[in-house]
Amino acid sequence: MEQSTAKRRGFNFKQTLKNILRSESISLVLAFVVIVAVFSILNKNYFTSRNLISVLTSASLTGLITVGEALLLIGNHMDLSVGSTAAFSGVMAALLLQQGLPAGVTILTVVAAGAVLGAVIAFCVTQLKMSSFIATVAMQSIMRGFAFIISNGEGVLITNSTFLKMGNFKFFGLSFLTFPIFFMLLVFVLFGIILKRTRFGREIYIVGGNPVAARLAGISIKFTTYMLFIIMNVLTAIGGMILAARMNTGQPQACVGLEFDGITAAILGGVSNQGGVGSIFGAFLGLAILQGFNNGLIMLNVQSFWQNVAKGALLLLALTFDYIRQKNRQKAK
């Protein structure tokens, strides 16, 4: 009897070790370390605190999008309109401020607009039964168009100093804890907890993993889908305003391809594009890899066209890993 328990414990220990080695987070951390090491060797200025701040700042907007897309992907959806929506939100905020609205009212109005937009997409997906892919491609064109229409195609200057704090406020005067960086980290932690620890989070997994079972288990797929798109578009609206505050202008042509970066980061981080699988922590690691890689290419003065090629290749690589993981899940025994 004793022997058998000991044996089982030994087996468990080995299994645990195996699980750690096989765990996706570890391999992602390793990939990140390798990327940092390679670029540090290639360029002395890569592994410096100044560059870290620049990476974190440029990641601040992509990070918000990554969280939203990760949640959507786990729920078996995606939103391809966020780049346009972010630009629209920045322009809208800038115009409202020009009309003399106070910063607080402006921010709330733009956030509300984002929520409405998310609800519209969710309506198309749940009631009109469109695929989220098509519905959000349409929305991408619409929102980009409106961004140009309301701004007459030109950047709108922002002078409201309270609003500009969204871009440059430093917590405790620390230059690596600006508002954009702080807010991104806060969103990661907040949604990490929501996804893992709340009933709503659990229901996202169930809806994304098997919608038929979810419905027969009494979960409202409609509610979950509405919430997912509203969260995505509220985060986008805030992200767009933060970017506008950083740039002092609302630019209608900003953020092209933003959704692409968010989706790439999430899938790199182990979120499945088939729904039901993934974590916010993984998505964070995916974001770190993507941003570390992008920044490295910039530091090496790689032509920006090649950066596009590299980003696309990274997404293909991420999807390939996702496919391999799926196959492993199916035959896992």
Partner: protein, 504 residues
């Protein structure tokens, strides 16, 4: 070794289930062989092995004394095998001719030669003697003719082995006559034909030999002319788990009416009247597609009622969604637990706690301590065999997956619980455990509806058996009077006329 198509010692194992066990038999050219067996007996699995959809675990297949092995449906088609499924695999917006020549269109210089295509299609249609035109889009012709197009497609591919998987289910009597003439024509041309059907009448009318399946085993091969309906039914139902039912913890205290349906109709079922009492197990019997699952879906709020009313414990009960049904105390263990019941990629813990997650939450946050405690208790109570509660459900055997579903629903203390095919694809040992759990539920005063295609199971467990056919309830039989032939006759025999009178 003389038969054209031969199966030798075919075994097929899915995780936890032996779907086929040591199957050996053959089919001659110019012969029609029927596959007969209850749902889940292994007929479809064997067809799927033959057409390259599944790979068998062991055993050999010979065609014309040469061993063959198919890795994909395409290879099987090339080897001259065509399987005609109930769900037709046609392109609805393409013409009859284009569908017949699907995969090998007649081209000239890379372009499809429509004139030649239509002429050749017309020739085949004439050969079959059908009144359809090659230019008509397939979606415009009736279901029966669509099936004919499917057959002509197989014929045009020069298939030597043609399998029909329950082809007559959607057809009217006149259409069946046309189909049978065509099958006989194929037979006279020397094709080897496999015919899967539940319908005894057709088997005796059409086939030369009958292969009887039960629980993945071959029960025997009979010359159709030298057997009888009762003999085949006896072979089909077999007798090997009878003892299981004698030791079940039966409930003898039947309480008040819990659920009542009055003249309920939905899109799929008609004029359903029934009562289920507390502590009572009501079995639903009938063939696949008879409307049993659809009745359950109506009770569970998954399909809207078109007429009639329901009451639960005497109060009006009209659930608009499964959520409302659950809140009223009704639970459903769906038929296909992998597709409808479980989230396979989630863990045992996440699946078990799903129905009562609300109770395990405080202000929306899951209390993990409580959740683990609850899951551990459930694993113990329902004897789920899993290495840990963090195991993904996809890795459990069928029986243990079903126990997870059961544990989940029993946790919400339902007033009424519906089991749809609770032992489908589960091995005998786990089956008897699940029977115990169902009876335990009844003993606790839960009203139970059990849908099952296994007659031994329905008779062994239910206090009362409702038989359904074509969307109507055709019989209400107390256990004491239930016999397998009696149930089968209500489930299979044509009583269309009687029902039309009732409905009209």
């Amino acid at each position: 070794m003389s038969e054209y198509l031969r199966f030798e010692k075919i075994c097929m194992e899915f995780p936890g289930v032996k779907a086929l066990d040591d199957m050996s038999f053959g089919v001659n050219k110019g012969e029609i062989v029927a596959f007969l067996g209850e749902n889940g007996a292994g007929k479809s699995t064997l067809l799927k092995i033959l057409n390259g959809d599944y790979r068998h675990t062991s055993g050999k297949i010979f065609i014309d004394d040469k061993e063959v092995e198919f890795h994909s449906p395409n290879e099987a088609i090339k080897a001259g095998i065509s399987v005609i499924y109930q769900e037709r695999q046609l392109a609805p917006y393409l013409s009859v001719a284009e569908n017949i020549f699907m995969g090998n269109p007649i081209t000239r210089g890379g372009f499809i030669n429509f004139k030649e295509l239509n002429a050749r299609a017309q020739a085949i249609i004439d050969e079959f003697g059908l009144p359809i035109r090659p230019e008509t889009p397939v979606r415009r012709i009736s279901v029966a003719y669509q099936q004919m197009v499917e057959i002509m497609k197989a014929y045009n591919r020069k298939a030597d082995i043609i399998c029909f998987d329950e082809p007559t289910a959607p057809l009217t009597d006149a259409e069946i006559t046309i189909l049978f003439n065509i099958i006989r024509k194929l037979k006279s041309e020397g094709k080897a034909i496999i015919y899967v059907s539940h319908r005894m009448k057709e088997i005796f009318e059409l086939t030369d030999r009958v292969v009887v399946f039960k629980d993945g085993k071959l029960m025997g091969v009979k010359e159709t002319s030298q057997t009888s309906e009762p003999e085949l039914i006896k072979m089909m139902v077999g007798r090997d788990i009878g003892d299981v039912f004698n030791t079940l913890p039966r409930n003898d205290k039947i309480g008040d009416v819990v659920l009542e349906l009055n003249n309920v109709s939905t899109e799929y079922v008609h004029d359903i009247n029934l009562q289920v009492r507390a502590g009572e197990i009501v079995g639903f019997s009938g063939l696949a597609g008879a409307g049993r699952t659809e009745t359950a879906r109506a009770i569970f709020g998954a399909d809207p009622l078109t007429a009639g009313s329901m009451t639960l414990e005497g109060k009006p009960y009209h659930p608009k969604s499964p959520r409302q049904a659950m809140d009223a105390g009704v639970a459903l263990c769906p038929e296909d637990r992998k597709l409808e019941g479980l989230s396979l990629i989630l863990t045992v813990r996440e699946n078990t706690s799903q129905a009562i997650l609300g109770d395990l939450c405080r202000m929306g946050f899951v209390n993990f301590h409580k959740e683990r405690e609850f899951t551990a208790q459930s694993i113990k109570d329902f004897n789920v065999k899993t290495p840990s509660m963090e195991q993904k459900v996809i890795n459990l055997s069928g029986g243990n997956q079903q126990k997870v579903v059961l544990a989940r629903w029993m946790a919400m203390n339902p007033k009424l619980i519906i089991f749809d095919e609770p032992t489908k694809g589960i091995d005998v040992g786990a089956k008897s455990e699940i029977y115990h759990m169902i009876c335990e539920a009844a003993k606790r005063g839960v009203a139970v509806i059990m849908i099952s295609s296994e007659l031994t199971e329905v008779i062994g467990i239910s206090d009362r058996i409702l038989v359904m056919k074509d969307g109507y309830i055709t019989a209400d039989i107390p256990r004491a009077e239930a016999t397998e032939p009696k149930i089968l006759s209500y489930a299979m025999l044509d009583k269309k006329k009687n029902q039309e009178e009732v409905a009209g």
